[in-house]
């Protein structure tokens, strides 16, 4: 994985000094809260429901064990012994003191980490495929391109006060595991007819209150123009994105209002101009970064044999491991969704353990997924049983990846000042319901996503089953959506009808799954059945 050189280190060290100075000026009264807010947000520091919250960047979801240990140390030293992994592949802490924040950033900088641009109206942490470098279906590892973009977007002086936040995702596989088309810019690394590698740009996707699937605006940008093209996309947005209404300020609205053709025309015009400005790093820089992402020293003779005589282990293997490109290895997913647990939360002890296991069994590498789980990307099959035993002993052995129990949930009204309703208790009750009725396995792949408000941090639009918490005259109320999907066949969920109470929504979800089980054809997932039979039968059952 990528390691900082003296320049990268100087940048994060400078950032710590800058924020220490800004924090001092705020505490001394030289900065008002209005002036300080965007500065702290661009260092990931929110003022949340109970305290300050710090969001730490995990660039493209990749980190090593030393970094993971520091994340656990921060949880113990400055917070309350746990962290929350987010749908942006980051981690956040809920009980941070402003006066500690500069010290935390310094602890992070010591292991090549930061909280730069994890919030605010700027280019956010670049997300990517959590199986990058390990998946069998990838064209090439997408992370070098993400790292190139990370450096370009860090402190980009023209784009620190955009109309609104800006999220970029880079993938390079046939299968989209990162909801690429639901980003402000989604980049797919592709090969053209001539066999050259380049980038397809999808611009103007997003969730939030007006979900949109990003249209393709250019099918091939040569790799030696990647930064220049990105800069053109951003400049058009910075100049013409709406600033009169916060809720219409995302680039998806600009692309929608201008039309894809007109936005593309403006980008191409800006691109042609910027090509003359010498802003593109040389290909040698991309090559330098790529050298950090070579394969680890796989055991070429590793065996594919796996003893599945232990049924609990066999279930975990079936549900939580994914084929690796290297024979004898698998991608192991650690579910942070124990039945009745808080999705994405992990204790400091669990974070330390995952760090140790990564060091011992996965070439010192971990990934954070947008589904709020952790991946050990390169595990030898021969080590898998031992690994699983250690995970299981620490409460990390839930065998439920991509099932109805593997729920994405935002922090909701338990933690978030924007939320209208709590998300976590709903997730807890649903996972308990299905664990109790024993249908989790029978239901197969079923992606359930819960947001506690219309900002959609819990990706409810993209859930096969989505739940949106709303405020109904001061009471929590939950709307049900069906048919969303974040993958290659991206679709947005549709609301079934009137909302439900907390217990009512759990019943409604169960009824929807009963319709699926009754109606499904051979080999169909929940989503497939919904797409085939439509909303009506589900509605009949849910509102009967």
């Amino acid at each position: 994985m990528y390691r900082y050189d003296q320049y990268d280190q100087a940048m994060v060290d400078t950032r710590v000094a800058e924020f220490r100075d800004q924090t001092r000026r705020r505490l001394e009264g030289k900065l008002t809260e209005d002036q300080f807010k965007p500065l702290r947000l661009q260092n990931g520091l929110y003022l949340q429901l109970h305290a300050y919250m710090l969001r730490v960047a995990v660039p493209y979801g990749t980190l090593n064990s030393a970094q993971m240990h520091v994340l656990a140390n921060i949880a113990d030293k400055y917070d309350r012994g746990y962290g929350h992994f987010t749908t942006r592949q980051n981690i956040q802490y809920n009980w941070i003191k402003l006066e500690d924040a500069p010290d935390i950033l310094a602890d992070l900088a010591a292991v090549e980490m930061h909280a730069i641009q994890t919030s605010g109206n700027c280019i956010r942490n670049i997300s990517s495929d959590q199986f990058a470098g390990a998946a069998g279906d990838e064209l090439i590892d997408p992370r070098p391109y993400a790292e190139l973009l990370r450096q370009w977007s860090s402190f980009h002086p023209e784009f620190l006060t955009l109309p609104r936040k800006f999220k970029i995702c880079v993938i390079a596989s046939e299968t989209d595991r990162a909801a690429m088309k639901l980003h402000d810019i989604g980049i797919r690394i592709v090969k053209n007819a001539a066999g050259e590698i380049g980038a397809a740009f999808y611009v103007g996707g997003g969730m939030g209150r007006t979900p949109m699937i990003a249209p393709l605006i250019r099918d091939f940008v040569p790799l030696d123009q990647l930064i220049t093209y990105s800069e053109a996309c951003l400049r058009v947005y910075n100049r013409y994105g709406r600033r009169d209404n916060k809720y219409k300020a995302r680039i998806k609205i600009l692309v929608h209002e201008l039309g894809k053709e007109e936005y593309t025309r403006q980008v191409e015009e800006e691109f042609a101009h910027l090509l003359t400005q010498g802003i593109e790093p040389p290909i040698a820089e991309l090559e330098r970064i790529k050298a950090h992402f070579t394969d680890p020293a796989f055991d070429q003779g590793a065996s594919d044999d796996l003893d599945l005589s232990d049924p609990a282990f066999a279930l975990w293997v079936a549900r939580n491991t994914v084929a690796h490109k290297q024979p004898g290895y698998v991608i192991a997913n650690i579910s942070l969704k124990p039945v009745g647990g808080i999705p994405g939360d992990a204790s400091a002890a669990q974070i330390h353990l995952m760090a140790d296991l990564a060091k011992e069994y996965s070439f010192d590498e971990l990934r954070v997924t947008h589904a709020q789980n952790i991946v050990l990307p390169h595990v030898k099959k021969a080590d898998l049983h031992t690994l699983w035993q250690k995970l299981d002993a620490a409460g990390l052995g839930a065998a439920n990846l991509d099932t109805v129990e593997d729920i994405i949930a935002c922090p909701g009204l338990d933690y978030c000042s924007l939320a209208n309703a709590r998300s976590i208790p709903v997730a807890q009750k649903i996972s308990q319901r299905f664990a109790a009725n024993g249908k989790t396995g029978e239901l197969g792949e079923l992606k359930l996503k819960i947001s506690g408000c219309i900002n959609a941090c819990g990706h409810h639009h993209a859930g096969h089953i989505g739940i949106l918490g709303v405020d109904k005259k001061g009471l929590e109320n939950y709307q049900l959506l069906l048919g969303g999907c974040e993958g290659d066949d991206t679709s947005l969920g549709k609301i079934t009808g009137p909302g439900f109470t907390e217990d009512g929504i759990v019943d409604a979800v169960e009824k929807a799954t009963e319709v699926y089980l009754a109606e499904r054809a051979e080999g169909e997932r929940f989503l497939d059945t919904y797409r085939r039979i439509g909303m009506e039968k589900f509605k009949e059952a849910i509102y009967a």
Partner: protein
Amino acid sequence: MKILTGNDLKSGAVVWWTGYDWSIHVEDAVDVGDQADAILQREEGARRVNASYAIDAEPDGERGVRPAHIKDRIRALGPTVRPDLTLKPADPNAGNWVI
């Protein structure tokens, strides 16, 4: 009644106006009548509180004060899904007060 709340600037802790200071316990909150704006302006200016605002609340027996909106009740108590991290970790019914 009208009560005042906000966050401590340094720690971020949720605080409530007691009439002369800020407390982390909502039961210490006092009715400020029509003085909300004046008090908040003064306290923000002195950096004794951050992100402050006035809310409706009602007297609530032995618990003292109950904010009108669930969001402020969760702020007053702590996350309902982590009773151990709330201000009343030993009270099994604390969560019911929120809802």
